[in-house]
């Protein structure tokens, strides 16, 4: 039997072009998913930043500020063990919201396109093309959403800080801690988004096209 030819592998440029067009036309959906990611990350970053500020009150706040806070009974309250366990809870909840929110949003946006995945496979699309397409899409949405979310979260944290601690809020958070928070948030946001999209996309790509087109989600 003569050799059977194989389909070519599309260059990345082509995949990006198709992904970009899809997101542009589905603008409202892209926007909704991206804002969902942004919202989750804003919450997470906000919690981490304001916790970071409170933790440093004892060391980095000026005498004046410490006295004022002590007078108002705030210092004691902020540094109490009760408050600390509450803070840990908040952080846990923020993480959970980010995880559930992002993964859920990506899962829905991919599963509602199972038929499209099946169709593309019928036309000669490779599994790897489908995975790359959704990788490109989710990387974009993840990066944009996460970046917006982080900016909003940090700004809100400083607004709250200014409100509670005055202009000293800017000194409270050491640069190293801030960078740490930014890196953790960014990685968490992008990784969650990509995984949330790739898992369903990969499982749909692996299906026989008929099964992908038939599955109602």
């Amino acid at each position: 039997m003569r050799e059977m030819e194989q389909i070519i592998i599309l260059p990345y440029r082509k995949v990006l072009q198709i992904a970009w067009q899809g997101m542009r036309i589905r603008l409202l959906k892209t926007f909704l998913v991206t804002s969902c990611i942004a919202l989750a990350l804003a919450f997470l970053t906000f919690i981490m930043c304001s916790n970071g500020m409170v933790e440093q009150l004892g060391e980095r706040a000026s005498e004046q500020l410490q006295q004022r806070l002590a007078r108002e009974g705030l210092l004691e309250q902020l540094l109490s063990t009760e408050q600390r366990s509450q803070t840990a809870w908040m952080l846990g909840i923020a993480l959970m919201i980010s995880f559930a929110g992002i993964v859920n949003a990506m899962l829905i946006s991919v599963t509602e396109r199972f038929r499209e995945i099946g169709t593309m496979k019928c036309l000669g699309g490779l599994d790897s093309f489908i995975v790359k397409l959704y990788l490109a899409e989710s990387l974009f949405q993840g990066t944009v959403g996460t970046t917006i979310g982080i900016v909003v979260g940090v700004v809100l944290a400083y607004v709250e800080g200014l409100n509670r601690f005055g202009s000293e809020a800017f000194q409270l958070l050491p640069i190293v801690t801030l960078v740490q928070i930014l890196v953790i948030s960014f990685v968490a946001g992008v990784v969650l988004t990509v995984l949330g999209a790739l898992y369903p996309a990969w499982s749909a790509a692996k299906m026989e096209p008929v099964d992908a087109m038939r599955s109602e989600v």
Binding site: M1, R2, R115, C122, L123, G124, M213
Partner: protein, 253 residues
């Protein structure tokens, strides 16, 4: 080995698990499809016609048996070979059109060519040419949402022709269309057989389809019960004879 048969199915079986229960959607089917013929697969729903259709098109793999397409055993192909087959050898048309919603008519037709590695300029030129042929020359820039059902199906036909395949597989292509539009679609498929020598295989329970078919395969409970040639069909077309055939068929369910 240029066989007269573009597709040969031998003892094809397909098993599905419905919970604990084992269901044989195809219980051993033998079928040869000739080059350039218009073959209709008829049968009540649940008869396994869609399953057979999917097997023939390489959209699904048989549990047992072999499907040879153009000299190649579909079961032995790897992923990239199957993708090549779907891209170059077969064009698909679906009951629900299955156009990519975010793409224009032109881009939908271009997609299989993109998968085949054709340059954008060339793909665009060919896409417009084919769209012109199916009567949508002016609507190349419309997206599926802006087209009627019949127009969408014509875009789908244009897409199935994109890489000039030997076989066009149409799964209930008229199922979601009104009588007149359905007839237009059938005529279009017949035209591709006559003018370009394409092999058309269609799963259907639309009796209009019979008029265009060269052969009709009747499938009941996962088995072929009879195969009728065109001249045998003519006798039964229309009127009471057609009704009789219908009751005979449904009586067997």
């Amino acid at each position: 080995m240029a066989s007269d048969h573009i597709i040969s199915a031998r003892d094809v079986k397909r098993r599905y698990m419905m919970g604990e229960e084992v269901v044989w959607a195809l219980a051993g089917v033998d079928l040869d499809v000739h080059r350039g013929e218009y073959l209709s697969i008829m049968g009540p729903s649940g008869s396994g016609k869609s399953t057979l259709f999917n097997m023939i098109g390489g959209l699904d793999r048989p549990t047992e048996g072999t499907v040879i397409m153009d000299g190649h055993d579909v079961r032995k192909m790897d992923l990239r070979q199957i993708a090549y087959l779907r891209c170059h050898k077969v064009g698909f048309i679906f009951q629900t059109f299955n156009l990519i919603q975010v793409m224009t008519a032109e881009q939908n037709v271009m997609l299989p060519m993109t998968f085949a590695g054709v340059s954008d300029e060339e793909a665009s030129r060919r896409a417009r040419e084919i769209l012109e042929r199916v009567g949508l020359g002016k609507r190349y820039d419309h997206r599926p949402g802006q087209l009627s059902g019949g127009q969408q199906q014509r875009v789908a036909i244009a897409r199935s022709m994109a890489n000039d395949p030997d076989i066009i597989l149409a799964d209930e292509p008229t199922g979601n269309l009104d009588l007149k539009t359905g007839e237009e679609i059938i005529n279009m498929l017949a035209m591709f057989r006559d003018e370009f020598g394409k092999t058309i295989i269609s799963a259907t329970h639309d009796h209009k389809m019979l008029a265009a078919s060269d052969r009709v395969v009747y499938l009941v409970d996962g088995k072929i019960t009879e195969i009728k040639q065109r001249h045998e069909l003519k006798i039964e077309q229309g009127g009471i004879a057609d009704k009789k055939a219908e009751t005979k068929l449904s009586g067997r369910q």
